[in-house]
Symmetry: C2
Subunit: 400 residues, 2 copies
């Protein structure tokens, strides 16, 4: 069996942990499998390198920043190979450019254009455990690039696809994907099985499990993968293609406290208004999440939407400018909000899920300010200080 | 003018020093020159990485060790580029493999086979300051290699040759090459001009200025270079091709305290004896330095030679074995010795230099145990505890 394993920074945080990872890799090799490992930089290495760069140049050139950051993963690769060889097995370490990972030229958040798996397959055939630096590649101009946050997951999944792996395992410091944030709800359980779509919804609704980009690649190329703990045999979440009817009614509940709501009061209710506002925000790369428009009154309406807290200042500035042009009577902003979301592939086939969610909120005296739904999720915007209470109540409703 | 500058680990030891190096590079660029910089890893980075490796695997595989060590220089390269761009100049950082530095496959002490300067020259033509990682290259099998101790000097000199540089500057933390070790003899002066041959003798007689390999390449391809301080405008030593008659009588005095003397008593004085002893030592890669054979007495003789202290134990073992075969009455070893050497291209044309050296030693009551001479040097083996005193006396004789 061809297995790709990915280990994050916390899994290779020190010498002892690297030895544990070597043990795990060798165990699979011993069992007769072909093993490819993708690793991140040790612990907080990437942050330290970034901070060094900032001390020299507050706006470091991105090409050189990528060159700098790429060294972190290479250190992990070399050390892990040494640990594997110490156990009597052959290993070969490959930086991204030697592993055939070709990207576009967008430094610090490059996209993988192509993986040429020739070298990887050759070394597998040489009976070696192949250890590859995550998060990095090389552009057509022969520049080292990095893939941005969560890039090592992306590397692992893309390589699994390129070499036709039978299994792709994403190792991390938690026991898989949880039904909700276990730091807030200690009752949270690991989810044994989840679809790509649900994982994508989780990523975009505040769960810090995996970056959406890695999941999107997995979905696009139908590469199943499992998320599990490096240091425990318990749990583990399989992520794969599933049909709506195979899914659970509710898979998870997420809470996103980094949201802000902007409301335009009294704007003309005519075509093109929304396009104008959101067009201007889009030009500034501000993502809009939930949009709600009130019922029209005398050809005027109120319009609310949410953005990430980090985009709030810029969004207000643009909104005020646009509001003036549109004759809005007032623009207000509220970042004292939270977004709570239930996600489930099966909810489409099971009426009454929304009602159960709203009832849970009502029982806790939580007022709903905005509602947004899709086929596999329901999001409610509520007051921020009620977020954690609401999360517990909804989790209890569906998982107790 | 095309200028290659090389900065060692102590010159890029921290952020502030990297900024100083950036200033120096930009100054040359501003003056209208084409500038290529070669850098080492920051401060003690290479040692730290090596120690990490040793913690994981006491005999780390050399291919992976090279991959690991190569990251140190890449970090320096990226940070220096950022510092240069911060000053408003364009820079491009190149790891060895992108700079076209091709080596053989002898990991941890690879030899440069070829430099393809295409990329370097292209980027110079793009008006960029080109910053290259010293100490590393890539083998024909696409493996990252390192060049061993002093490898960055080698990189700089080889690149200067490959691009036809007008000047090659080796920056370090001292003000050039000294007439002797200034920690022992505070009167030591910097040498303004020295030949390749004298530099090679200095390297092989205990002066820790530059590795012989880098000087050999410079001599082979007739690449003149200057050794100077990163942090001071004083001093500076030009190293170039010189005729015997252009040289100083004595350029420098060196002291090597890491020597041991082995003596074979009463071995047959017939052909092939020396070849047998030194043949066996050579097989074990033990370098012999000075050899002295006494006048024969009744067809028997005594034979003494020196080796590096670090080779002593192995040398004794082999010597005892060979001594037995040859019927030597005794083998003794003495590591309480030091080798003191005067070096000067001009001494061949000036009789009486040896006499001045011996007289200086005699005046200090220093007994000479062995003498060895070549066209441009005279070495004496003396007692180790008299080494520093002897060094001062001889330096006074020739430089006061």
């Amino acid at each position: 069996m061809k297995i790709v394993q990915k280990y994050g920074g916390s899994s290779v945080g020190d010498i002892e942990k690297i030895k544990i990872v070597a043990d795990k890799a060798v165990k699979q090799k011993k069992a007769g499998n072909e093993v490819v490992i993708v690793v991140s930089a040790m612990g907080k290495t990437t942050d330290s390198l970034f901070s060094l760069a900032k001390q020299i140049n507050t706006a470091p050139p991105t090409r050189e920043l990528d060159l700098l950051l790429s060294t972190g993963e290479i250190v992990s690769v070399a050390l892990l190979c040494m640990a594997i060889e110490n156990l009597g097995y052959k290993a070969i370490g490959l930086p991204g450019f030697l592993a055939g990972i070709y990207t576009d030229t967008v430094h610090t958040k490059a996209k993988i254009k192509k993986i040429d798996p020739k070298k990887i397959l050759e070394e597998i055939a040489n009976d070696k455990i192949v250890v590859i630096a995550g998060f990095q590649g090389i552009s057509a101009e022969d520049n080292i690039t990095t893939l941005g946050r969560g890039g090592s997951d992306l590397t692992a999944i893309a390589i699994a696809g390129a070499i036709g792996a039978d299994r792709c395992e994403i190792y991390t410091d938690v026991e898989g994907v949880f039904t909700t944030d276990p730091r807030i709800v200690p009752d949270a359980k690991t989810i044994p099985l989840i679809s790509y779509e649900e994982m994508l919804e989780m990523a975009s609704t505040g769960a810090k499990v995996m970056q959406a980009r890695a999941v999107e690649i997995a979905r696009k190329y139908k590469i199943p993968f499992i998320v599990k703990s490096t240091f425990s045999e318990r749990g583990g979440t399989m992520v794969k293609e599933m049909k709506l009817e195979e899914g659970a009614i509710v898979t998870s509940v997420t809470l996103d406290e980094n949201q802000a709501k902007i409301t335009f009061f009294h704007v003309p209710d005519k075509p093109g208004i929304a396009a104008q506002i959101f067009g201007e925000l889009g030009k500034e790369h501000i993502n809009i999440d939930i949009i709600v428009q009130n019922v029209s009154k005398e050809n005027y309406t109120d319009l609310s939407f949410t953005v990430a807290s980090s985009d709030m200042e810029r969004a207000i500035k643009i909104s005020k400018k646009e509001g003036k042009k549109l004759g809005a009577t007032n623009i207000i902003c509220d970042d004292n909000i939270a977004k709570i979301t239930i996600i489930g592939l099966g909810m489409a086939n099971h009426p009454g899920v929304a009602a159960r969610m709203f009832k849970s909120l009502a029982q806790e005296n939580v007022n709903i300010e905005m509602i947004s739904t899709s086929e596999i999720k329901i999001s409610c915007v509520i007051k921020k200080n009620q977020g954690k209470k609401a999360l517990k109540a909804i989790h209890d409703e569906f998982f107790k």
